[in-house]
């Protein structure tokens, strides 16, 4: 039996009605093992204007590099505010296997939904100054001059900044997933 996957459609401008019941911006309440980190950022459109109706979902391993453990589900969801801001409070994930069993650098997988996107955008958040970034098999697929868009910037103790630029010179790298 061979079917074809259902066509994707936009979340539209009223996504909050159906999706904000599951907002999870703090993925790692007290007791979850790992290095605490906050990731704050904005979503900006081709005019540099804030996108106030975006929804970001993140998916990541725990500090031990394992997915979907009882103590840490690893799923987050944040809706942008009037300034296009989103926020996550989580832990730095451990390394997980990549293509050919080669370990990847710590990273967070991201789905971005909004009005004007007929299907979600897929991107990743990597961690600054992590020596594993240099040998990451996925970052290696990204043109070197664009890799910085996937690597969060330090913004104080335990704080990172990472933005989603939909268009322009510093357009975020998006993946064909």
């Amino acid at each position: 039996m061979s079917l074809q996957a259902t066509t994707s459609q936009t979340v539209g401008p009223f996504l909050h009605i159906g999706l904000t019941w599951l907002i999870i911006e703090d993925l790692a309440p007290a007791g979850v093992a790992g290095e605490r980190v906050s990731v704050d950022g904005r979503v900006l459109d081709g005019d540099g204007a804030p996108v106030n109706d975006a929804l970001l979902e993140i998916w990541q391993a725990g500090a031990d590099g394992k997915f979907g453990e009882k103590s840490f589900r690893g799923f987050g969801r944040s809706a942008t505010d009037d300034q296009g801001r989103f926020r996550f409070r989580t832990i730095k994930p451990g390394r997980v296997a990549g293509p050919g069993g080669k370990l990847q650098a710590p990273h967070i997988a991201v789905n971005v939904f909004m009005r004007g996107l007929l299907k979600q955008l897929v991107t990743r958040i990597y961690f600054p100054q992590d020596p594993a970034n240099a040998e990451d098999p996925v970052l290696a697929l990204v043109p070197s001059e664009r890799r910085a868009t996937l690597i969060a910037k330090p913004a104080g103790a335990g704080a990172l900044e990472w933005n989603v630029l939909l268009q322009g010179h510093d357009e975020t790298v998006f993946f064909d997933c």
Binding site: A5, A61, C177
Partner: protein, 236 residues
């Protein structure tokens, strides 16, 4: 079970491109640089699991979330979630949202001059059962104007959000109603060139799920990407 090594890429013409100028919001939001082909790793082959702890008992019935019944034609929307190989996708989260019978959302940015309904929020969710089936009770949503182009009207639709087994199977779509004359003029519905793919977004009147003297049933089956698996050893 064989090891899943990735999920299949879509058949040509069945999934939208990001830039689709007839839908004007894509123009400033679609990426302009080439996408990077992502091999499916552990991060894409796994995904969050939701359970009954995440839900409330009446979450699938949008007609019983307030003091009284909402205005509108009560309907039952049900179907099966399966993958491209026809295998049921059990125990996964489906979220829906929709306008009320007058074509109005209870949302601060909805300026359409149509009445809100204090008895209708338009939000539901459920888990598929062991055979991938889901069922919602709701009311038939109204059509409404939008500002995409002059005299633009959205066909009646229900938004669907589906997780499936992995990050790579995440799907958001919209369900439409059979025989809606607005479909032909809707840029979102017409965002893919493959006519059969478009038509699969249209639900079917379904006598089997229709409850006599209570509500018409509409069937909407949803297909998630199929898995690529390491070939099984050939039997001797």
């Amino acid at each position: 079970m064989a090891n899943i090594t990735g999920y299949r890429r879509p058949a040509a013409g069945t999934q939208p491109e990001y830039l689709f100028p007839a839908y004007t919001s894509t123009i400033k939001r679609a990426p302009t640089k080439p996408l990077v082909l992502l091999p499916h790793t552990q991060s894409e082959l796994t995904g969050p699991v939701f359970g009954y702890d995440d839900l409330q008992p009446g979450d699938h019935d949008l007609t019983r979330q307030h003091a009284a019944a909402p205005i509108g034609e009560r309907i039952i929307v049900s179907g099966q979630l399966r993958d491209e190989d026809g295998r049921a996708v059990p125990h996964t989260l489906i979220e829906i949202w929709q306008a009320n019978a007058a074509g109005r959302y209870p949302h601060r940015i909805d300026q359409h001059d149509a009445p809100t309904d204090p008895n209708f929020t338009g939000c539901g969710r459920t888990l598929t059962d062991e055979r991938g089936r889901y069922r919602f009770v709701t009311i038939r949503p109204g059509e409404y104007p939008w500002r995409n182009h002059y005299n633009a009207w959205r066909p009646a639709h229900i938004h669907f959000s589906i997780f499936g087994p992995a990050f790579a199977t995440r799907l958001v779509t919209q369900m439409y109603f059979p025989g809606d004359p607005l479909l032909a003029a809707d840029p979102m519905f017409n965002c893919v060139p493959d006519e059969r793919a478009r038509n699969r977004l249209i639900s079917a009147l379904d006598w089997e799920s229709t409850v006599p003297e209570f509500a018409l049933g509409f069937r909407f089956d949803i297909t998630l990407r199929g898995a690529q698996q390491t070939p099984m050893e050939r039997e001797p």
